[in-house]
């Protein structure tokens, strides 16, 4: 018998879904007190493997032991009882309830009498210990995504989880939040927790994880490799099975006339606060304008105003000279404005409709998909099959419900739909979020192809490297205002960082000029 028992041992796990072998005899070990990263392409079976571990799915074959003891979970409750807690890719919180209420939801104790003040205090103590700050009395809907994630983690810690499974936790965080999050992880490891961490961001994985396991088409291509002896390039190759080009060669732009002209846009956010305080921008045909900024500085609202989904208080949105501000999403669609929305589950897709039905959301009105009254079912099926192949959407078939697609594949489906409409303008909000390195490359290629075709592209991204690599010009947004516009070849990451923190370009330039 070995002296040190693993926190978790999974042996020969097999999990099938109708038409897919999501896990094919996968082995996975988690040592006590380590951070173990799980990598793999979209649809490789990462979430599935961890859902098996968390008691959500029952594997067809395989054995699981926790701290040396054989276990067989019938529900997440059993897993939590064994000390395993999972934070899912999509959060499972009740929006209208407070943080504390969500944390104690479903627990046996307290039974009848809720001493809220007492509970709040307990939760504050837990927060203090791990640096997961969030107001216990706040309602979930009032919280940012990052804060909601902290609630999910607190929920698991409160239940006494010793092993934390985090499914793509950093995909929804801002760079600043990621820094804090990494610190939190280190703190949790120091206090004896073991962590499984799913991510597509290889730099992050190399920085945080002790070991990695890589899945590919449901099989482990690397099991528990130490991060010390590997590189980003090697990991990427293990994931996709070929050499990955991280940033594509970008041919010089040939900008045409101004296609999208935004003037002095002002708008409120959902909570009635002013989110846009006079934004003016222009995008030309055949160029990519990148919008950099920390999430929550008005990016979503700006994208929504352009695509007719949100009313502006004032200002203009001119598409090829025609003012379409405050018309409707329909008008934007008819003017061939494609929109890759930020919230792919809540806005970009209909969970219970099929993949094929999700792919026609923008095209069903016109021939050949729609005739005068009816939908043309054979055309819908043919197009769906074509898009599924062209965009490499991993799904058993086109009739599968959208909610059963893996996170990255849903994103691919949305991209496929938006790009297939031959857009004149693309408003893409975080288009590569949650995608694997191979898919990111594919999306970047699609955007560059569209640019070559003469499409005007507005790219919102928090990934500075991505904005730098793809954009012809970069505008930085801060608290609903544009801090300045620069060319990627004439700027530095520091300069953009300063603007993202609220300094105007004139001021920064003024200072540096002064020094020279």
């Amino acid at each position: 018998m070995p002296q040190i028992v693993n926190a978790v041992e999974m042996r020969g796990i097999v999990k099938r879904f109708p038409g897919v072998l999501a896990n094919d005899h996968v082995d996975f070990d988690l040592c006590q007190g380590e951070v173990h990263a799980l990598l793999g392409e979209n649809g490789a079976g990462k979430s599935t493997l961890m859902n098996v571990l968390a008691g959500l799915y029952k594997p067809e074959e395989g054995a699981i032991s926790v701290e040396g003891k054989r276990v067989s979970f019938n529900s997440p409750r059993d897993a939590i009882a064994a000390g395993l807690g999972m934070v899912h890719q999509h959060f499972m919180l009740v929006p209208s309830q407070t943080v504390t209420e969500n944390i104690i939801l479903g627990l046996e104790a307290p039974r009848f009498v809720l001493n809220m003040a007492e509970l709040d205090k307990k939760i504050l103590a837990l927060q203090e210990q791990y640096g997961l700050r969030v107001d216990p009395k706040a309602k979930i809907w009032q919280l940012s995504v990052g804060e909601q994630q902290r609630v999910e983690i607190l929920k698991m810690l409160y239940r006494g989880a010793r092993v934390l499974i985090l499914d793509e936790p950093t995909a929804v965080l801002t760079p600043q939040e990621i820094k804090e999050f990494i610190a939190t992880l280190k703190g949790m490891v120091a206090s004896g927790h073991s962590i499984v961490f799913i991510s597509h961001k290889l730099d992050e994985v190399l920085a945080i994880a002790n070991r990695v396991t890589v899945l590919r088409h449901g099989r482990a291509t690397a099991s528990g490799v130490s991060t010390a002896g590997t590189t980003k390039r090697k990991l990427a190759e293990l994931m996709v099975g070929r050499d990955v080009i991280f940033f594509l060669e970008k041919p010089p732009a040939t900008p045409g006339p101004v296609v999208l002209d935004l003037q002095d846009l002002k708008a409120e956010n959902d909570r009635g606060l002013q989110a846009l305080k006079g934004v003016s921008l222009q995008v030309r045909a055949g160029e990519i304008l990148g919008i950099a900024g920390v999430a929550g500085n008005g990016q979503s609202e700006l994208a929504q105003v352009i695509t007719g989904m949100r009313k502006a208080l004032s200002g203009h949105v001119r598409v090829n000279g025609e003012d379409v501000v405050n018309r409707s999403p329909r008008v934007a669609i008819n003017r061939q404005v494609a929109h890759v929305p930020e919230d792919r589950n809540g806005v970009g897709s209909a969970p219970s409709l099929s993949l094929a039905e999700n792919l026609i959301m923008k095209s069903y009105r016109k021939a050949p998909v729609g005739s005068r009254l009816a939908l043309n079912r054979s055309v819908i099926r043919k197009q769906a099959e074509e898009l599924k192949t062209a965009f490499d959407i991993a799904a058993p078939n086109i009739d599968v419900q959208a909610r059963l697609l893996s996170g990255g594949n849903l994103q691919k489906a949305i991209l496929a739909r938006e790009m297939s409409a031959e857009p004149k303008i693309i408003v893409a909000v975080q288009p590569t979020r949650g995608l694997d390195v191979g898919a990111i490359e594919a999306v970047q290629r699609v955007l560059l192809d569209e640019r070559a075709r003469g499409t005007a592209i507005l790219l919102f991204s928090e990934e500075l490297e991505e904005v730098m690599a793809l954009s012809d010009r970069i505008a930085v947004i801060y608290e609903g205002q544009i801090m300045g516009e620069v060319k990627p070849e004439e700027t530095t990451l520091e300069q953009i960082g300063l603007m993202m923190a609220g300094q105007r370009l004139e001021n920064i330039r003024g200072e540096t000029d002064g020094h020279e």
Partner: protein, 371 residues
């Protein structure tokens, strides 16, 4: 390994039931649960009849005979099923968009009133040719029902007023409105009913053709059933095949995605409520033109509410609505025929109860586990 575990626990492992969330719902499952729910309801009903000192099998046999035992009673069952089909379709359509229209009863009454107004106000003289008269009555019935759907639909769409409350309350207004007319302006000699409609306002019945086809003698099945079948086909086409139906399903599944797809949610909410109300209104027209032949207070034994059960049991499938309506038509009829009449009513209630309970099986899988 597994045997070891069992041995370790001894030879008497204990079992327990657990609910596990279903990831996918196979196509046959809704059908199976609906049928299963009816079967369970019949068993529960039998138990209650037995406990009450009755003979369950005799009672069921009686119900079966009273509803389906001969051409004559089957005719009556279909007559009862006719309004249920239209009302069931009305509910099924609205429920597709997650609009909880529980005002079909009121829309039914308004439809009946509108159709009567054509004859009684009168909007058309009694000598109007039958096809024109019936067309006008159907149109008036549909429009009045649609109006009753429009009001809650508009309030929901524009002001987000809960449609459950408004449609429910508008039921009371509709029944009172009909009573107001049958007690007042349209009362015949002070009785709470209108005068008999002229023959031109009667829906054709099978017995009208008894001269050429003797077998139709005494059969009161009327043209309303055709309306129901045509409506079922149209509703099926709308929901499953048409562009509009796609919009309805998209809004029902995720309104924010529908908004993103450029679909006008306000307009669709109003339209669906109007079509739903219109179908229920058509049921009212069909009932007074095909069966009652006059307007009176008691024209519905709660068709509007039974329609909700029908739609639910049919899992919102328009053709299943037709089948379920026939079953419920039989139960309503048996309620008139057998004593105590409460039994078929009780069965209706138990069926609804079982159907709602069986929904759990669509979302969860029950597992027997050793603990």
């Amino acid at each position: 390994m597994a045997t070891n575990d069992t041995l370790a626990k001894g030879f008497r492992p204990t079992y327990s039931l657990r609910l596990e969330r279903r990831l996918t719902t196979p196509k046959w499952l809704p059908v199976a649960t609906s049928v299963g729910a009816v079967v369970v309801a019949l068993i529960v009903g039998a138990l209650l009849i037995y406990l009450g000192g009755g003979h369950p099998l005799a009672a069921y046999q009686h119900i079966l005979e009273a509803a389906f035992g001969s051409v004559g009673v089957f005719n009556d069952t279909l007559v009862k099923a006719t309004p249920l089909i239209l009302v069931g379709l009305a509910c099924a359509l609205a429920f597709r968009m997650r609009l909880w229209n529980i005002g079909a009863e009121g829309q039914f009454f308004m439809g009946a009133w509108g159709a009567s107004a054509v004859v009684l106000l009168p909007l058309l003289p009694a000598t109007t040719p039958k096809p024109l008269m019936l067309l006008a009555m159907a149109l008036a019935g549909f429009l009045c029902g649609a109006l009753w759907g429009f009001i809650p639909g508009y309030l929901k769409a524009k002001l987000n007023v809960n449609e459950v409350v408004t449609t429910l309350m508008m039921n009371y207004i509709a029944t009172s409105w009909v009573l107001f007319w049958v007690f007042g302006a349209w009362s015949e000699g002070g009785f709470q009913m209108s005068r008999m409609f002229p023959r031109t306002a009667w829906m054709p019945r099978l017995l009208d053709y008894a001269k050429s086809i003797p077998a139709f003698g005494g059969l009161t099945l009327h043209g309303g059933i055709l309306l129901g079948l045509i409506a079922a086909t149209i509703v099926w086409f709308i929901v499953s095949r048409s562009k509009w139906g796609y919009e309805i399903r998209l809004i029902g599944d995720n309104p924010r995605a529908a908004h993103y797809a450029g679909i006008n949610i306000v307009r669709n909410t109003v339209l669906v409520m109007m079509l739903s109300g219109g179908l229920a209104g058509l049921a009212g027209m069909s009932e007074i033109s095909g069966v009652v032949h006059r307007l009176q207070g008691a024209i519905s034994p709660g068709y509007g509410f039974t329609g909700i059960i029908v739609a639910w049991l049919a899992k919102l499938n328009p053709f299943a609505v037709v089948l379920v309506s026939v079953l419920f038509g039989g139960l309503i009829l048996a309620g008139r025929e057998i004593q105590p009449s409460g039994i078929p009513r009780m069965l209706q209630g138990i069926i609804l109860f079982c159907v709602i309970a069986s929904d759990v099986l669509l979302r969860y899988r029950v597992r027997l586990v050793r603990s």
